[in-house]
Symmetry: C2
Subunit: 320 residues, 2 copies
Amino acid sequence: MPDEFEVIAAMSKAAGKPPKGYSQIGDDVAVVTPRPGRVVLKTDMLVEHTDVPAGMTYRQAARKAVAMCVSDFASKGVRPDSFMISLGLRRGVDKEEVEMVALGLRDAVERWGVHLVGGDTNEAEELIVGCSMVGFAKRVVDRGGASPGDALVVTGAFGLPPAGLRIMLGGAKAKARFGQEARRSVLEPEPSLDVGVALAPYLTSAMDSSDGLARSIHTLARASGVGFVVERLPAAGGVMDFADANDLDGDKLILEGGEEYVIVGTIRARDVRAAERAVKKAGGELTVVGRATERKEVVLEVGGRLEAIRDVGWTHLGRR
Amino acid sequence: MPDEFEVIAAMSKAAGKPPKGYSQIGDDVAVVTPRPGRVVLKTDMLVEHTDVPAGMTYRQAARKAVAMCVSDFASKGVRPDSFMISLGLRRGVDKEEVEMVALGLRDAVERWGVHLVGGDTNEAEELIVGCSMVGFAKRVVDRGGASPGDALVVTGAFGLPPAGLRIMLGGAKAKARFGQEARRSVLEPEPSLDVGVALAPYLTSAMDSSDGLARSIHTLARASGVGFVVERLPAAGGVMDFADANDLDGDKLILEGGEEYVIVGTIRARDVRAAERAVKKAGGELTVVGRATERKEVVLEVGGRLEAIRDVGWTHLGRR
């Protein structure tokens, strides 16, 4: 069984050689060279029994812990610079598991171009991967800037992660290709970092959708003092068929699923075209799904009728 | 049982109103206004079953999680600016426990003048309090700058926390006043922040002593490529009597105890007087306990004889 020092050695290897002005893993503190703007920080914690479904490797879990922070940065239009990892490992963890965690961190370093500058190793009763991330930005998009008339936009489609979880944990049926895609969305989430950075100049408000689309829209509504009419649900291809085949409510899967890595935001109506072009250039696709309203309700327009969208999503420690 | 939103509300209350240029708790990311210098970061994680002995309240545990980070900043001579908290709470945690955690964070905010700018709430199988801290500094004292001839200094005395743990967990006997002081050192650790900041200009190397005095001296020796002769063990008052009364090895208690919050560092011999004055002005006391040597060994001088000091201390996941 590896001890703390062997764990630190594995993490240092994952970090690679630090660039000039950045500290090597292993001192009491980490040092990063600032860039212009304000300092943007995020901390998130992956906990084995709630965040690591059966079938997810330690490599994927470690990568996911970083993805969770990257997703928040992406939704604010900020490119992250560096991160630290706080590990809780079971006593008796084996060398291969530690190496898998290190590989997952290496995956994250390479995927999102962030520096792993420090960390902390502990003993815990389950795998814990705490990620703390830092970046720099002149402007940080907040949640409270939407005005009536703004377009409600999303940077991707919804429903794959909740479908994937139901396949992995509940034995839901799925066609081979859809099943693969759905599982992959759970195991190797892809935050829209380049898209978020490209989109930021146009956003009047934004947040990520890790607690689900409905929760995100309601949160933007509350913070901005507006309502929203949702005109179309951004369903990922195959989600409605999957829902039908498994007697699930497709709309609910899309609205209340959670664990999504899509940016939900608002844009002034006159900026929509330019924003679409910017997002396309960054390799993504922007979809207008509704509009902000003065009337402070969040509703779905279905064939000319308005239905309330419930403020339901993932709540840690919530009643289930 | 409080859910995530009630937890966030309690933490926001603990944070208080943010100063201008700092974000309020609750958005996807936290924003901090930078000060001159490089960005200094630290993450540490308090885990209930290893870091929270029986008799420690949730309020003390939360304060301790922040103290662990403050201690690292102090040893590098850097005043921390802000911190984030990543909480893991048991399902079924009650409102009073959450309020105790919030009170402990408030204690930390007030004690060390740091801003609580963000956090994250999760469900875990035991209490987890992850602290991520940021500060700014033009110079960060590292571990590798000691030269032969430098004085080895400490900013406090050793042995109280290991004695306190033995009293709390092992039923060791102690005189009333010593027992109180020893328990307090465990329950409400006091990192030497003002002292560390005052001392920093004189330090050629330094680190904290959370893994014990012997481990700190050996680490500075390795990083700096020197050895050390320790001429006196900095025993806290009453530790030797406590060791005798409980058939414990007093030297071992002082050298290998761990959970200490004292700065261990080196200073050029000619700077010792000025450093002593600076530390006194900051409310502390500097003690010279030995000197750096060219010979790369760490030894204790006892009555003219040299005895090797073992590189032993607290190792997470270590063989015990």
